[in-house]
Symmetry: C2
Subunit: 337 residues, 2 copies
């Protein structure tokens, strides 16, 4: 298996990206194609060696910046590390693409390069996390689609459900619509209409979920428009960060607390890890014909390795092959309602 | 000062409501009018006595349930504890109303009983919390308005700003619009249009804030439509709950961890309290002509006392008198854009 990795994207590129990629090639026993500028590649390979040839270099002259508009990144930078990496997936030279770069650009270039899965209208960014009761859940969309129609929310439910079944072997994933109350008549017109559509699908739709149900894990798939999802994801990250910052601060306030930290250290670290949303391994881009995983912009080597690990799992479980539209549930025609 | 308190609303009514009310009357040196059914009142007064006459009983025959529709609660239950309590505010027999009951019903009955402030279109539910850097911030709307127009988001900014200035003496509150990126062109059509309107006001509008900025405290006032706000609030509560549950669990996993908990106890409790969003003291209902504070449905006596404390502060700082429309910033006419 070969995974293409964007060497140029992310706050800590290229060092942490290269480090994570070399580690993943070794630990996961896969081939990695590192995509980046010639001199940057040369420096990384000089420093890290070629480790039995598992990591190879693919040149791409341009870089997509964080402020580049998604479609401009596609039109004006045909030789960017994102475009070149995704082209490797299209031609089959790599089975997946991983990048910590501009997520809007990755989504747009993926859409144009790989095309959409059958009966699927738009790509969606998802994230995986571990709930309080210990199961893996997925939530989407996290920002690829900010102004959504009801049919798109139903599509997110289908993509998320298919993902959990195929990649995490959950037999009949519970799908919930994020809303402000349990009752069917609650919320905006968008979610009320999406509820009606979701009821008509063959999904295991369990109704509405509220904000607190997301960390607690009432469902396996949580559906949101991309605006709500993006705010929710960043709030969750920021709040968890803030709580841990103040816990660490309180552990430094007295001698007793310092001793306490020593005693509690391992359990504390395991709790921290559990709630660190970035650790599950990046955000899969669903709906496009191929396996694409976005890593967090702040990713370090460990995060990159995790994102590559998720991509490997998706490929092994057959995600990159298109799901069967018939299995997606309802008549695809109603999705254009 | 006299505060009317709904004895019948909330998961832990009437006991915890009465307990919190009697305590608040004593600790805050105020009068409380407890509003509820005759026999329930009689039982509470028999148990708790009258404490120097600071707490008095006001009878209301009906109860608004959590599943009652807001306007039905107004039309069909004229003698509910919510209607009677708000009528006391309208007539001036009480200066504020506090309830842990059905928030939609409280908002609707407040609107019909007290009317709106000048140049204000809709009531908004707000919440106050302490940010990581230790300042008090307000966010709104939390669910009174799920399908919003841009003008309503601008109005939330004006209400929140006025509240922070008047009640918390913040001279020029920083107002931020919750969005999925910092740039002006990010987000849904709703927030892009609201951004344009907010720029034209005389508010100290600092632009967009992202999810992580809410706990970190980039602004004093965070504006959201009521759908996003409700999801965000419940996610924040649920995530903080979940993190603390897993921390407490990890503190019980080994003898070392148990000793650690003893040593760290006080600092841990202070950290827990800091992040417990319910502790600031209830959610003020802004936009209506009068002081109304909603307590969380799960409120215990301490929460009720805090909510009453917030109502007292609002009254003392002159919130219940209508804000001067001229000071609210822009030409009110454009709010109907």
């Amino acid at each position: 298996m070969t995974i293409a990795v964007d060497l140029m994207g992310g706050d800590r590129a290229p060092d942490e990206i290269a480090k994570g990629s070399f580690r993943a090639a070794h630990d996961l026993d896969i081939e990695i194609k590192l995509v980046g500028q010639e001199d940057v590649l040369a420096k990384q390979f000089k420093r890290r060696g070629r480790r039995n040839g598992r990591v190879s270099a693919i040149e791409a002259a341009e870089i997509v910046g964080m402020s580049d508009a998604p479609t401009a990144a596609w039109r004006a930078k045909k030789d960017s590390s994102i475009s070149v990496g995704l082209e490797l997936v299209r031609t089959g030279e790599a089975q997946a693409f991983v990048s910590a770069g501009n997520s809007g650009a990755i989504a747009a270039v993926s859409l144009f390069t790989l095309g959409m899965m059958p009966a699927t209208e738009r790509p969606a960014i998802a994230t995986l996390y571990t709930t309080l009761d210990g199961h893996v859940a997925i939530m989407l969309d996290l920002g690829a689609n900010v102004d959504c129609r009801p049919s798109l929310l139903a599509e997110f439910g289908q993509l998320g459900s298919e993902f959990m079944t195929k990649v995490f072997q959950v037999p009949s994933p519970r799908v919930a619509l994020v809303n402000i109350g349990e009752e069917k008549n609650k919320g905006t017109k968008l979610v009320r209409d999406a509820y009606e559509l979701l009821e008509k699908t063959q999904l295991n739709f369990i109704g509405n979920a509220e904000g607190f149900d997301i960390p607690k894990g009432k469902a396996d798939v949580f559906i949101m428009d991309g605006f709500t999802g993006n705010v929710v994801l960043k709030l969750a990250e920021g709040l968890a960060d803030s709580i841990f910052t103040s816990i660490k601060h309180s552990l430094r306030q007295s001698l007793a607390a310092r001793i306490s930290q020593l005693l509690w250290g391992p359990a504390l670290r395991s709790t921290l890890t559990h709630w660190d949303y970035s650790r599950i391994g990046g955000a899969p881009l669903l709906g496009v014909q191929g396996t694409v995983v976005m890593a967090h912009g702040r990713s370090d080597a460990k995060d990159i390795e995790n994102a590559i690990g998720l991509a490997v799992r998706m490929v092994r479980e057959g995600w990159s092959s298109s799901p069967d539209p018939a299995k997606l549930g309802a008549d695809p025609a109603h999705l254009n309602a």
